[in-house]
């Protein structure tokens, strides 16, 4: 209790010490902790803390590499530009809409897949693989493949629609339909991961709870709502928050499927940041947009940390 080191106790240190070893090869606990955590801390410092401070700094600059002018302090000019920028509103609105549609969407589909995968299969690997492959498939590949699925002439979706007697649809000419196709692709990609997390949660629920409920005469529906759902809540909350943050950053799938088109109708905030930075080389405005993105995801993260603290689920 009275120790001034970082440690609560040194009780687990073995007694055998060899005094001739240098401090470096057999350090005490405090030194050791610093040594072990230093590489991670340095890496996070160089790759996150520095870039983020740089980002915030640049967002106050007028820094366009195409103009050839040196960076100039511009105050809030970059941020003031946003309200009058229709593409900013469109991209932000699309990002929020994608989040609001695909997060619950992938939860529902993922839950259904998890319940199916939780059935007592004799051979487990085909089911496991059919959840793992979509997870491992690069998002950009998924975007490309789904773009091809929804192709108006040769796409398999229109082929299936034709076979069941529905009219062919030109998906990527209409903003709404293009947007729907993008959301479907994202839900497909994200739901298998959701399913894996939920499946793992389902498998930790003791069977005896259901048996007891059977004895008490509770039906399947009641069991689902009164045993399964409450016990899975912590798992679902964590998965949802990660999904939300990933959805806010949506880039690969719309970039590959529509390139943001028609026009900028299906562009996302991440795509707009990319375009301003890499294509227009307007680093000032790109940074300001990224600050908005950063703020959005920090908000979700703060919520997340509060929730896991609240439920005591932090391991």
């Amino acid at each position: 209790m009275t120790t001034t080191s970082m440690f609560k106790s040194q009780a687990d240190r073995p007694v055998a010490r060899r005094p001739w070893l240098s401090r470096w090869s057999d350090p005490d606990d405090t030194t050791l902790a610093v040594m072990l955590l230093a590489p991670a801390a340095i890496l996070l410092g160089v790759m996150i803390v520095y870039p983020v401070s740089r980002l915030i700094y640049t967002s106050f600059l007028d820094l366009s590499l195409t103009s050839g002018l040196p960076a100039r302090f511009a105050g809030l000019a970059n941020f003031r530009q946003m309200p009058d920028d229709p593409v900013f509103w469109q991209a932000t609105w699309n990002t929020v809409l994608i989040t609001l549609i695909t997060v619950p969407g992938s939860l529902v589909v993922g839950f259904a897949l998890a319940l199916l995968a939780n059935l007592p299969f004799q051979v487990k690997w085909p089911v496991r693989l059919s959840l793992l492959i979509p997870w491992a498939l690069p998002l950009s590949f998924a975007g490309l493949i789904f773009g091809w699925f929804f192709h108006s002439e040769y796409g398999v979706v229109n082929d299936v629609l034709g076979r069941i007697g529905l009219p062919r649809v030109i998906w990527f000419n209409s903003p709404r339909l293009a947007f729907a196709a993008i959301c479907l692709a994202i839900i497909w990609k994200a739901s298998s991961f959701m399913a894996m997390i939920i499946l793992a949660g389902l498998q930790t629920i003791p069977r005896s709870l259901y048996e007891a409920a059977d004895v008490d005469g509770a039906g399947r529906m009641r069991q689902f709502f009164e045993i399964t759902l409450p016990l899975l809540k912590p798992t679902i909350v964590v998965a949802l928050i990660f999904r939300t943050i990933t959805a806010l950053q949506t880039f690969d799938i719309p970039y590959m499927m529509t390139g943001g088109g028609p026009g900028t109708e299906t562009a996302t905030l991440a795509m707009y940041i990319h375009q301003n930075t890499v294509s227009f080389l307007d680093l000032g405005y790109g940074s300001a947009l990224a600050v908005v993105m950063f703020g959005l995801s920090m908000l979700v993260t703060a919520l997340y940390l509060r929730m896991i603290r609240g439920s005591g689920a932090a391991s």
């Binding site: 040594m35 590489p39 890496l43 496991r128 498939l137 091809w148 399947r220 790109g286 940074s287």
Partner: protein, 284 residues
């Protein structure tokens, strides 16, 4: 009455036909896109533009695979993806093994805080790194280099790997380490000779997660490395599309080549991947 009803419902739910339907739904949902690409990769260009479209290739050909390698430097893309993924995975593992050991074994006073920081970092939006890293890499002349990708990818996987490894290290009895130290090992000696070998499955799992993360990343690879010789696979794939042409059979062949390495990893190590994903964290 309800017990009887529940048990018939129960047997219907776990009955064979239902399981078969469930398996079918899962497999079609999970594998159809990859299967479709595989089928397309064997079709000729002429067959592709037939209407109505064909599902199974009529005259299967391997020419698309040859073309995928000759039209674009596909081998180079593969090599770049491998180099970037392997190096960033190695770096991630080294850093996260050390950090996870400290978190699992030492009675850190700030453990809760450090854990919160790691979780917060795991939700860090990579997009926001785009602008400052682009600026920095440009200034340092590191655009179009593998380093420009290896470092950010290491940070991308660091939190998840640290969480996976921490939970694995916690599962290894302390007595083993203490015994090794009494026998004359230093703490580092005990870490690398006792703890790491015993948690090989955990290290491996973390490694696969890091590898897949790097293999899949697109935005930074697209923004930093525009030089064809340095493009990774997801970025290189785009080069097959011409201004007007969209040679789907060839693109499909290239996609299959890009999926196979990951698919092999997943097929061999499926159980470890699942345990890693659910033990350490959630990102995808």
């Amino acid at each position: 009455m309800s017990t009887a009803a529940a048990s018939t419902f129960d047997s219907a739910l776990s009955g064979k036909p239902l399981r078969a339907i469930a398996a079918l739904i899962l497999i079609v949902n999970g594998l159809f896109p990859a299967l479709w690409i595989l089928l397309t990769s064997f079709k000729t260009e002429a067959e592709l533009t037939q209407k109505p479209i064909t599902w199974l290739p009529h005259a299967a050909t391997l020419r698309n695979y040859i073309q995928a390698f000759s039209d674009q430097p596909l081998l180079t893309f593969l090599f770049n993806s491998f180099m970037v993924a392997l190096l960033s995975t190695a770096l991630t593992l080294l850093v996260s093994v050390l950090a996870a050991y400290a978190l699992a074994r030492l009675n850190l006073r700030f453990r809760g805080l450090i854990m919160s920081v790691i979780i917060a970092v795991s939700t860090f939006p990579l997009v926001t790194l785009l602008v400052p890293l682009f600026e920095t890499m440009r200034a340092l002349n590191l655009l179009n280099s593998r380093t420009a990708l290896i470092l950010p990818y290491t940070v991308l996987s660091l939190p998840v790997c640290t969480l996976v490894l921490t939970s694995f290290f916690e599962g290894i009895p302390r007595d083993l380490e203490n015994a090794a130290m009494i026998d004359g090992c230093t703490r580092f000696g005990a870490l690398f000779r006792v703890v790491v070998p015993l948690s090989a499955p955990g290290v491996f799992t973390a490694g696969i997660l890091a590898f897949v993360n790097s293999w899949d990343e697109f935005l930074l690879a697209l923004s930093f490395n525009s030089n064809p010789g340095l493009r990774t696979l997801p970025v290189g794939i785009q080069l097959y599309q011409g201004e007007f042409a969209f040679p789907w059979p060839v693109i499909s062949a290239a996609l299959v080549v890009g999926i196979v390495p990951i698919a092999i990893l997943i097929v061999i190590f499926q159980e470890r991947v699942v345990s890693g994903l659910t033990a350490g964290g959630v990102k995808g």
